[in-house]
Structures are given as C-alpha cells and as structure tokens.
Amino acid sequence: MAILELTNISKHFGAIQAVNDVSISLEAGQVVGLMGDNGAGKSTLVKMIAGNYRPSQGTIRLDGSEIVLHRPIEARQHGIEIVHQDLALCNNLTAAANVFLGRELRRGFGPLRVLDYKAMYRRAGEIFRELRSETRPRDLVRQMSGGQRQAVAIARTMISEAKIVLMDEPTAAISVRQVAEVLHLIRELRDRGIAVVLISHRMPDVFDVADRVVVMRRGRKVADKPIAQTSPEEVTGLITGAIERG
C-alpha cells in the first residue's frame, strides 16, 4: 500500500506553472529516484511534500488520509523529514548535538531539567552503529568528511522515526568513497521500511540504489517506472526531451 500519495498536484507562482498535474505514490521500504533538469519542478514538488509550499491544486494523502501542510514543522510531525542539500548542520557542535538539535534529551524534573549528554552520546552512537558509519558522536561536525556529515543528517531523521525521507542531492560534491557511504546509508533507511525520495543529477547513483525512477520535465511527470525496466540512456532522453514519454 502507498504510504504517501500525491494526486494531481499542481503549483503555480503567478503565471509560472512550476508543477503541473503530477501524481506520485511512495511505498514503504522503497527508494524513488526523482530526476529532471534544473527548473523541471523537482524542488518545488519536494517542497510541497516537506510543507514549505502549499499545492495550488491536488491532494496529499498520508497513510490513506488527506493532509494539509502549512509549515515544515507539520510535515515533520507527520513523519516526513528532509535532508537538505547544504545539510543544515551546525559545524561548531558535535555530531550528537546535531543529531538531537531541537529534540535534546534531558534529565531531571521540572525547571531543573538539564541536557543529558551521556544519553545523547550513547543513542547517537547506537544510530551510527546501525547505519554502519564510522562517525564518532563527540566529534565536531567541522572536522568531518562529507560522508560522515550525511550520516549525521540521516541520523537526525532516524531520531524522529521518520516514515518518509526526502534527500536533496546527497551525493553532490563529495568524493567517490563517500558517495558509496551515502548510498549505503540510503539502503539502510530502505531496509528499515522508510520510503526514500532521492533527488539527484547523478545517473549512476540513482541506478545503483533506487527501485523506481520518476522523471520530470517542465513541471510534468514524463516517466515513472521500475529501474529494471529502463536504462540511463532512456532516462537521459526523458530528461532532455529527446524522448517524449516513458
């Protein structure tokens, strides 16, 4: 069954039609690669799922019931997490502090509740272990590699027990080894039954990790098929418009 269902979603900014009549369904434990050229409407679509924009038309259903998202915080309350391209981490804080940012664990009672460093280090360590990432909870994010940063950003989504994780270009601008690390993290999320949307320009990554690929062009969905039934050549054609529809 679909966990998230977008039906006939459109979004226009004044006269500009950014997303035009798009329907997509996400299933638990599935990775969907969302591809398209710059300005194809990927970001706008994702921002609607994340609660940054409200659709001009169409409905969003979560677990079968319709939801209306006014703000990003509401999306998060529904279990929809976004991992931003710039990662939105604080370089001056430790990995554990970033993982728990805004959701700090505390101990004590009433007004005398203080941050529970020990519990946060321990829990963050457990999550990094589950992700099989060599990330130390006490390290400052400033000193981390791109792959470790992604692990921190992804660990954030696991703290909140997200059902849907939207990843915006997670493999842009990092080294080959780190790309492998990040793809591994995505598989870990999938194996826990999380629906992952991977927005990427990198064809090999999408074909490596995604179960399905959705291609957008000029605000419309032009293809939505299992990865096994397509090829990088076809997807490239769909992105550029050389192939009209998949």
């Binding site: 710039d86 939105a88 981490l89 604080c90 804080l93 805004g102 060599e134 130390r136 390290d139 000193q143």
Partner: protein, 332 residues
Amino acid sequence: MATTLDQTIAQKQRTLGAAILANQTFWVLLAVVLACIFLSFATDSFATAKNLYNITRNTTFVAIIALGMTLVIITGGIDLSVGSVLCLCSMVLAVVMHSGYSIEVGIAASVATALLIGAFNGVLIAYVGFPPFVVTLGMLSIARSLAMVASNNTVVFQFGPDHDKLLALGGGAWLFGIANPVIYMIVLALLTGFVLRWTRLGRYIYAIGGNEQAATATGIPVRLIKVGVYMISALSAGVAGIIQTGWLGAVTTNIGAGMELQVIAAAVIGGANLAGGVGTAFGALVGAALIEVIRNSLGLLGINAFWQGAFIGGATILAVLFDRIRNFRQTE
C-alpha cells in the same frame, strides 16, 4: 589489530589534556597566572590584600558585561551599546533615588530600562533584519544622550533616603572580605556557564551562531532567542551600572564611555569568536581579568599609563593569533 566499528564510534577524538592545550582560554588563564606570579616578585605592592581587592573588584564591571556580550557574540552578533546602556541605567537609578524613591524602585526602574533597550535592539535585529552593528551603534548614541537628558548633564551623588544602602550594595564586602561586586560576578558567571552548558537555551544559542538557517529549520525559535540575548546583554550592562553606582557613589554622564570596546576585547581574549558559535562564560571572566591585570601592573611597574591601550590591544591580537595558528594547523 583492526579496529572495529564499535571501537571507532566509542573513541574520543582527543584526550582531555590535548583538549585543554588546544583551548585559547587556558593559555590566557596561564598568562594571567604567570603575570600575577611575576608581579608578586617584581613589586612589593602587587600581592597585597588591598591591591588584590582592587584588582578583583575592578575586573567585575567589564567581566559582568562580557558575560552578556559573550552570549551575543556566540549567536554571531555584537552589542556596541553596552557602555552607554550602563551609563543610562546608572543615571535612571540615580535620578529615581535622588527624587526620594527607595532603592527597590530605583533598581526596578534601572532594570526595566535595560530590558526595554535590549528588547528594542533585539527586535530590530531579529525581526526587522537590521545588522547588529548598525542598531547597537545607534543605541550607543541614543542611550548616552538619554542619560544626559535625564540628569540635565549633571553629576548625581545624592541618592535620597536609601543612599547608604546603595553604597553598601556596591562598595561593601559582606562575605569574607571579598568585595560585593566580585560575589555578584561569580554568581552571574556560574549562572551563565550553567545556561550555556546544561540547558536547551544554551545549546540553541550555539546552534544559532553555528548555522542560523539550520537552527531555524529544526524548529528552534531563533528570533525569540536573539531578542533574548540582546536583552540579557543590556541587562548585564544595567546590573554592572547599578553596582558601579553603588561603588563610585556618584554618576556622571561619561561613565562607561568606550567600555564596549574593553568588553568586546575581554570576550574575544577569553575565546569568543566574532564569527559566532564559540565562547564561554569562564572565558569572559579570564579575558576581563587579563585586561585588569595588565592595567594594574603597568601602574605598579611605573610604566606610563599612556601605554595601557597598546598592551591591551596587543593582548587582544595575540590571543586571537593563537586561535589562528591552531586553525592553520588543522587545515593543513
């Protein structure tokens, strides 16, 4: 032997010793201690009860404001208005008490003035999006001008019926012969340190300085907290003003002139980074102490007072130089 994933995750990045050696505050503290030891031997007058009493007390006014300033600096801001706010709050206290009200009313009026100014700065910065430099530069001018208006630019040295209470508050030594202002400073420093290290608010203050957008994205009330830190900064100036008034026994419209620069220097020497995200309460005290020790020692060593600025400025640059050298090593 190959290290397992578990070992890697459990590993600490560096030992406690290494962390201390990499800490700017530690080196500044060491400089303060060495200077004190040197001065104890080099002069007869340094290690006397009277002089130590003076040094610790003189440190407090800059140190208390540096605590508030450190919070502002951690969020990536700056507050240039503290010297003038100190003056205005002292003057409000003085004028209210002079006209016959009790010390409680005077302090309440003074604190309210500080909070109001802090809120004004904070709202313009956090909600209207003004650069902190501009808003607080404006307030630097406004607050001092208001102090002149409030007092008609006269010196106030009569504080009405509670005159003696006020002087005892700032000039007394109620506990083991330690000057009262020092007690206030220690209490406020412990409070600030506690908030920064052990509360969510403290964590969020660091997060805002580290990456304001990230802080906003995680649902932290960034704007509210920014207004809060400017209010705390102004409040710290107000509190310092109240204590200083009690100590000096008189208020003129030029007290606190140029103090903002000393306060910022103290915070920066103590390890606060003007780019935001870094700083501690302890650092603010140590920075303020170094400035005071330099000033005191120049006098005792018979060096012309005109050199003071050169030494304090040199110390500021030297302290930050340590930080730069460490960063160069890390990026290599």
